[in-house]
């Protein structure tokens, strides 16, 4: 029997998160089950509603941004609920205590945690509802529940008795939920682990899916917002005389982040916004430059590090090593650039507010909205739509706060839509970083020491400051080293605020650290004169899951076998989100341009809910990682982000996409996350392949060949 688990450890929010350094958002969430029954439906628990007409609605408490939670999470509920997965309806959950992500402590989508958090909890929810429906049938028929069984949305009992869930729902909803339920043996799974088609595809190929930007409310107006070109700057004064006379313009309002023009259509609002004359107080960041940022990081590197790991005597071992090895790696700022620009729809009234949009952090949305409007949380309704990409950008809700402020100011429903330029120049950027690595080899070419010291801005210090303890941000030290068998090791980090605001971006610090540590182990292999695959493998005798994916990737890629002239392979290995992954990239270089022809991915992520979605996510990560290594570079001059659209901040396109081959290890281990690890691993695999090809070490992203 599986005990009902405590829904939340609330690691993040109980400790009190902060936004913009001031606004406390550690609001408690409504304790109601969130699945308030609409007319003719009965709520079994927070995740299951059943209508008298047999409609089964499963609530999805995570935001769907492409990663497939809208399919994977209801699959877990449906598996135990015993309903036809193809006939369920899925709604996105409102903010609610029961929907807190226990791995993150808030109602938040991130960290590749959705399946890991829901794996047991959601099956329990399904089983609980099934038991209640079965019990309702047993009571109705005057038999013992053990004589009844549930399947395909109906309960059957002795003597051919049968009742649909719809017929039983109302009575079942009044029963006390069972404290303990028995979950299926995985061998009996009908849906979990099968490569099922996604239920959200039909809407996405016909234009029917509603993203935040598609929301329409009666009498809704449209807004475009002028923000200071230097992030953090404020309005000094503005002249709206010209804008106000333009067609369709209804309001011009100053808000915390800038000047908003509100009009009958978005295009009118945008045109009038361009006609504003705003004088900005550019604030403390007006002189930020990329040169200054990296100079600052280099200076921070000379400061003492907060120690993450000290094992043996690294300095001594390197000093006495037959061969020392050193290298420094540099990562740029990156923009999330989801294809749906930031936007939000708000209808703030005197005693209520309706807030609708693409968000990844419902709990913070509620807290921020309550603080801005002065309304009580129970007066605020938050509806999450589908997200046109997220990648972590929509954890930060500046755009929501802006829409709420505008609606409050004008007393009407409004949809704020950013331009692409607004989006790219007002992101919360993936931190730039520097990583110094050093190591030593003995006379036989075996590594005796390995040290890593990295410095970057800390997202956590901005968003969840209490989580930074003793100078360590746990989200800066992910995948910090592969546990290679090296006797002396040290790891340390230095948090350095560069001035530009930073945010969590897909893969977070895995990407920073894996690029450095898997490039460096390759450098050590080269210094030892050994094959980089064999060198790694020889250090993984005590790490079977690492060794297994490494061998699988090498074997499937044909490691060591001849390639056409002008091509070479590189390999890299990591663990992230409890998923083990190796990649082999096959590359060529022509006119100083890297071309990635083929990527072989071996992955062990434990049990899967849906292998089809797992494959989608791996493909997605390869494209995302290739974008980063070829192009990703947000630069600063005079405090301004210099990239403004997809001409200056390029994203990978169809012709550059490599052949991707995926090999997934069959495993009964607990599930690992798959939405993020792959993008971290491609850059070192490609850098290592370029070295194998022409001897150039690429230590700065994006890669620029000499």
């Amino acid at each position: 029997m599986t005990k009902l688990t405590n829904p939340a450890r609330r690691k993040f929010l109980k400790s009190g998160a902060a936004v913009g350094g001031s606004l406390v958002i550690g609001v408690s969430l409504p304790g109601v089950n969130g699945a308030q029954a609409a007319a003719d439906t009965s709520a079994m628990n927070a995740w299951v509603r059943i209508g008298a007409d047999n409609t089964v609605t499963i609530l999805c408490a995570r935001s769907e941004m492409g990663q497939g939670v809208v399919m994977a999470l209801p699959t877990l509920v449906a598996e135990e609920l015993e309903v036809d997965l193809n006939r369920i309806r899925v709604d996105f959950a409102p903010p609610g205590e029961m929907y807190i992500n226990a791995m993150l402590g808030g109602q938040i989508t991130g960290g590749s945690t959705s399946v890991r958090d829901g794996w047991e909890k959601l099956r329990i929810a399904g089983a609980q509802a099934r038991v209640m429906l079965t019990e309702a049938a047993a009571q109705k028929w005057g038999v013992d529940a053990s004589q009844c069984s549930a399947r395909n949305g109906a309960v059957t009992g002795p003597g051919g008795k049968k009742a649909s869930y719809g017929q039983l729902a109302e009575a079942a909803s009044k029963l006390t939920p069972p404290r303990e339920v028995k979950l299926k043996d995985p061998a009996q799974f009908r849906y979990v682990g099968k490569p099922l088609k996604r239920l959200d595809t039909a809407g996405k190929i016909t234009g029917k899916t509603e993203f935040g930007i598609d929301v329409r409310l009666p009498k809704m107006l449209y807004a475009s917002l002028a923000q200071c070109p230097v992030i953090g700057g404020k309005v000094a004064s503005f002249d709206d005389s010209k804008a106000k006379k333009m067609p369709g313009v209804k309001h011009v309002v100053g808000i915390t982040d800038g000047v908003a023009v509100v009009a009958d259509s978005w295009w009118q609002a945008k045109q009038a916004r361009d006609a504003l004359n705003v004088t900005w107080d550019e604030g403390p960041n007006k002189n930020l430059s990329s040169e200054g940022v990296f100079k600052g990081l280099a200076e921070a590197m000379s400061k003492p590090a907060a120690s993450i790991r000290q094992q043996g005597d690294v300095a001594g071992a390197i000093q006495s090593a037959a061969k020392p090895v050193r290298a420094t790696y540099q990562m740029p700022f990156l923009s999330h650039s989801p294809l749906e620009p930031m936007n939000f729809t708000a209808d703030v009234r005197k005693d209520s507010a309706l807030l609708i949009g693409s968000i990844q952090f419902q709990q913070m949305a509620l807290g921020m909205a309550a603080a801005i409007t002065g309304l009580k949380p129970e007066q605020i309704t938050i509806r999450t739509t589908y997200l046109g990409g997220g990648f972590g950008r929509r954890i930060d809700l500046d755009y929501m706060a802006q829409a709420v402020e505008i609606s409050k100011a004008i007393g009407a429903p409004v949809k704020l839509v950013w331009t692409r330029e607004d989006d790219m120049t007002h992101d919360f950027y993936r931190p730039a970083s520097l990583t110094e690595m050093s190591g030593g080899l003995d006379a036989n070419g075996r590594p005796v020491a390995l040290s890593l010291k990295m410095t970057s801005p800390s997202v956590t210090a901005r968003l969840f400051p209490p989580l930074v303890k003793d100078g360590v941000d746990p989200l800066m030290t992910e995948a910090i080293l592969v546990p290679y068998d090296i006797p002396n090791q040290s790891v340390g980090t230095v948090i350095h605020d560069t001035g530009l605001r930073v945010g969590y971006l897909r893969s977070v610090s895995h990407a920073l650290n894996v690029f450095a540590n898997e490039s460096f182990i390759d450098e050590m292999a080269a210094a030892a004169g050994k094959d980089p695959y064999q060198f790694r493998l020889s250090l993984l005798e005590k790490q079977p899951r690492f060794a297994n994916v490494l061998k699988l990737a090498a074997e499937k890629a044909g490691w060591g076998k001849p390639l056409p002239n002008g091509r070479a392979r590189g390999i890299a290995l990591m663990e992230g989100y409890e998923t083990y992954m190796a990649q082999v990239a096959e590359v060529s270089v022509e006119n100083r341009q890297i071309k990635v022809h083929r990527v072989v991915v071996a992955v062990d992520l434990g049990r899967m809910v849906n292998p089809n979605i797992v494959e989608q996510q791996i493909e997605s990560n390869i494209v995302f990682g290739l974008t980063a290594l070829l192009y990703g570079d947000i630069t600063l001059k005079d405090g301004r982000v210099q990239q403004t659209n997809f001409n200056t901040y390029q994203l990978l396109r169809m012709p550059e996409t490599p052949k991707i081959e995926m090999h997934i290890v069959k495993s009964t281990e607990k599930p690992g996350g798959i939405g993020e690890p792959g993008m971290a691993l491609l850059p070192p695999a490609v850098a290592n392949a370029v070295y194998a090809l022409n001897g150039q070490r690429l230590r700065t992203m994006p890669f620029r060949l000499a």
Binding site: E340, R420, M654
Partner: protein, 151 residues
């Protein structure tokens, strides 16, 4: 006031003729399947057909669409190529977040209408203007081949 012909229906709109077609379709006509991605003809999310040819509606003024047949994602399933493309997209589960897929499907349908058996190079040429941040390109390519061959 102007009449536009969209997905086989005539609609009357009262907007400045210099307004980009994208915003007329989305905000005036309320058809939100066509997406805003960049506003600069760089990403393809806003792709629609004018007389069967793919155009970026974010950079096409309403005036350029008057007198032409506009087709959007809401209407593309009525064409033979569009129907095949949508079926292949569903069969291969192409979309992830789905935001760019209206534009991808419009570009793919235009390609297949003009070139029923495209090569990989043809696909590269026709689809290079459509960005997918989720990286569904391998499945888009496979789906176009599937739509072309019926396999």
């Amino acid at each position: 006031m102007a009449n536009v012909e969209i997905n086989g229906k005539t609609r009357n709109v009262n907007v400045d003729p210099s307004t980009p077609l994208l915003w007329v379709i989305r905000d005036t006509l309320g058809m939100t399947g066509t997406k805003f991605g960049c506003g600069a003809q760089l990403c393809g999310a806003c792709t629609v057909h004018l007389d069967g040819k793919p155009v970026r509606s974010c950079g096409t003024p309403l005036s350029a669409a008057i007198g032409k047949k506009i087709t959007t994602i809401e209407g593309i399933g009525a064409s033979e190529a569009g129907k095949k493309v949508q079926a292949a997209w569903a069969a291969l589960d192409v979309p992830q977040c789905g935001y760019c897929q209206s534009g991808q499907i419009m570009s793919a349908a235009a390609l297949l209408a003009a070139n029923p058996k495209p090569s990989d190079a043809d696909i590269d040429g026709a689809m290079a203007g459509n960005i997918c941040r989720c990286g569904t390109y391998p499945r888009i390519r496979a789906a176009i081949h599937k739509a072309a061959t019926g396999a």
